[in-house]
């Protein structure tokens, strides 16, 4: 291999790459702006929606309860609920969002309180519909308070202290450091995004430098120059790899920035029950995530280039690579699923392993054995992929497909 020839190819490809507007979009604009905008936008939207739903006074219908006037009266007194008169089509009204929930009070409910019969009060709501759940929760809370009051009365009637029912209390306390708590929530998201962007960053130049070159007719020009095909592939590969890395770096920077902004705004802290979004990404974990993404970017670059080389045109290459993106996205998504943990077997599955280890790294856990295993195995896959790219570039039937 002739390094200076590789360098000549690399510099020329870099120059063309920088001059391409499509590059600007896929490498710079998308990672720098699209993701932060999406993240900030979605979370802001979610906050607004939840806030709106919480502010609403849900309409609740009471079914039955004519023989339980005391209960009815206290329900009606509630400010947090709006009680609507009974209608036979209450189920449809819930489905149509005319009312949020309905509560069914069994016959002789108040009478049963004085006996030992235990009746059940039913709450009807539309599962999955946020506002309906909120309505149901409020009426449930009221009923629980009401039940507690009844219990208290019963205990008082029998001259028993309230502690009879609560001989001891239970409390959960968190020992994980704060960055682990927020990391567990967002760590998987960061690894996932870096992986996806490594791929999108590599995809466009991988097509442009192979199928694009065939389509424009410059393949024959370059093949007639004295450069060896090995040097040519190396130069091209290095450019695709740099594009992939550049996209990853920019995305990590912009994500760090947008988390910092999110953490400082009170937006997220106000209504979401004190759970903060602020993510204290240490410099070490950022560097570690980046290092783990390195062999993966290498692998993507080699694989995408090899596949795109088979195509005769840009369009054809895109139609080959679109299914490929699903193959890459699926393991990345799988790692975000709750409960998917890094095991020695999973550590050998490319993409999934990196995504999982990034999740661990961001939560501050460093299992050096699995980190080494993942790094080495991904390097091996990447090496095989690069070898395949070289081999493919030697095949006339691929270079001059007609």
């Amino acid at each position: 291999m002739n390094l200076s020839a590789v360098g000549i190819v690399y510099r020329k490809e870099f120059r063309e790459w920088v001059r391409d507007r499509r590059t600007l979009i896929s490498t710079v604009l998308v990672p720098l702006f699209l993701f932060p905008v999406m993240m900030v936008g979605f979370s802001a939207l979610a906050v607004v929606m939840v806030g709106k739903a919480e502010k609403e006074t849900p309409k609740i219908m009471v079914l039955g309860g004519e023989d339980s006037p005391q209960l009815l009266a206290s329900i009606r007194k509630l400010d947090s609920l709006e009680i609507v008169p009974y209608a036979g089509n209450w189920k449809d009204q819930i489905s149509n969002k005319d009312i949020r929930a309905a509560v069914e009070i069994p016959k002789n409910f108040e009478k049963s309180l004085t006996t030992s019969n235990s009746e059940s009060v039913k709450i009807y709501f539309y599962d999955g519909e946020m506002k309906s759940s909120f309505g149901a929760n409020r009426i449930e809370k009221f009923l629980k308070d009401y039940r507690d009051a009844v219990v208290k009365d019963r205990l008082a009637a029998k001259n028993l202290p309230a502690s009879v029912l609560a001989p001891f209390s239970i409390k959960q306390e968190n020992v994980a450091p704060p960055e682990k708590v927020s990391g567990a929530t967002f760590g998987s998201f960061i690894g996932y995004t870096v992986i996806i962007l490594c791929m999108t960053g590599a995809m466009y130049p991988a097509i442009d430098l192979t199928a694009g070159e065939k389509e424009r007719g410059t393949m024959e020009t370059i093949l007639s120059s004295p450069i060896s095909r090995l040097d040519l592939v190396c130069g091209k590969f290095l450019l695709v790899f740099s594009a992939s890395l550049a996209t990853a770096i920019l995305s990590v920077i912009s994500m760090g920035g947008s988390f910092a902004i999110l953490g400082h705004t009170s937006l997220m802290n106000s209504s979401s029950g004190g759970q903060t979004l602020a993510l204290n990404l240490g410099l070490l974990s950022i560097v570690a995530v980046f290092l783990m993404a390195l062999p993966l970017a290498f692998l993507f670059s080699a694989v995408l280039m090899t596949i795109a080389l088979f195509a005769k045109s840009y369009k054809e290459a895109q139609s080959y690579l679109t299914p490929m993106t699903f193959l890459i996205v699926i393991p990345a998504v799988a790692s975000v699923m709750p409960g998917v943990e890094l095991t020695p077997k999973l550590a050998l599955i490319p993409i999934l392993n990196t995504s999982l280890v990034c999740k661990e790294i961001i939560t501050g856990t460093y299992h050096w054995n699995s980190i080494a295993l993942i790094f080495v195995s991904t390097c091996v896959y990447a090496g095989v992929a690069l070898f395949l790219a070289f081999k493919t570039f030697q095949r006339e039937s691929v270079l001059f497909r007609s």
Binding site: A5, I8, V9, K12, R15, E16, R19, D20, R216, G217, T218, E220, T221, L223, S224, S225, P226, I227, S228, E396, S397, F400
Partner: protein, 250 residues
């Protein structure tokens, strides 16, 4: 100097089976002469020239160019060959100057030599007005000049032209034919392929007629006229490539 020795190229096609694109072709091209490879579309001209330029590897046989074997030393062969065809396009996002520089560097020229060569070439081809313009903004004529400049940058002793005038207007085509003559006058070995009879008559010192991958005959125009008893090259060509049909007609 080009010497093809039993050059053959076979392709495998799923539907048609084995295709002999070029079948045992041998010829010699001398320095200072233009060898014209005349043939219909699909006769094997492009494949032959691509093998000479080491873009394709021969299935059998070989060729020796400037003392280097196309199979053994493809990179050395390419360093001695300028290859130009209508398929050899330019990089759209590079300027004319950057493109020529790129190929100069790939040919191992150092920066000082490269700069001198560029000035000489751009002056000679009258390219200074558009040397800093991107190739995708050039007219067809300017593109052809840039392609010529690309092949000239390392001043190779052998020039291979594959249907260089295909699809060009008359004025642009004349730039190319003038360039081909100039190459010969400078003592280069020139081979070019075409299916246009008039180009062959005007340019070629030696003519090779290729059909179905086989080199059927070769010689100077005068030799061919004597051998086949016809004045018109087109008649000669038809006589050679359709011997069976003409016998039936007779």
């Amino acid at each position: 100097m080009i010497e093809a020795r039993g050059l053959s190229k076979r392709f495998h096609d799923k539907k048609r089976g084995e295709i002999r694109a070029v079948d045992n072709v041998s010829f010699r091209c001398e320095p200072g002469r233009i060898y014209g490879l005349l043939g219909a579309n699909g006769a094997g001209k492009t494949t032959t020239l691509r093998m000479l330029a080491t873009i394709l590897e021969p299935t059998d046989g070989t060729a020796v160019i400037c003392g280097y074997d196309v199979v053994e030393d493809p990179e050395k062969v390419r360093a001695n060959v300028g290859f130009l065809s209508t398929a050899t396009a330019l990089y759209p996002r590079l300027t004319a100057q950057e493109l020529v520089e790129y190929f100069g560097r790939l040919n191992g020229l150092d920066e000082a030599t490269l700069k001198k060569r560029l000035d000489v070439i751009f002056n000679r081809l009258d390219m200074n007005s558009f040397r800093d313009r991107r190739c995708d903004k050039l007219s067809t004529g300017m593109k052809q000049k840039t392609s010529i400049a690309r092949t000239l940058v390392n001043d190779p002793p052998v020039m291979i032209f594959d249907e260089p005038t295909l699809g060009l207007d008359i004025m642009t085509a004349r730039t190319i034919t003038a360039f081909i003559r100039e190459c010969r006058d400078r003592g280069k070995t020139v081979i070019f392929s075409t299916h246009i009879m008039s180009e062959v008559e005007k340019l070629c010192d030696v003519i090779g007629i290729i059909h179905d991958g086989k080199l059927l005959t070769e010689g100077t125009l005068t030799e061919l006229r004597e051998k086949y008893g016809e004045q018109d090259l087109e008649e000669i060509f038809v006589k050679i490539v359709t011997p069976l049909q003409s016998q039936v007609e007779v």
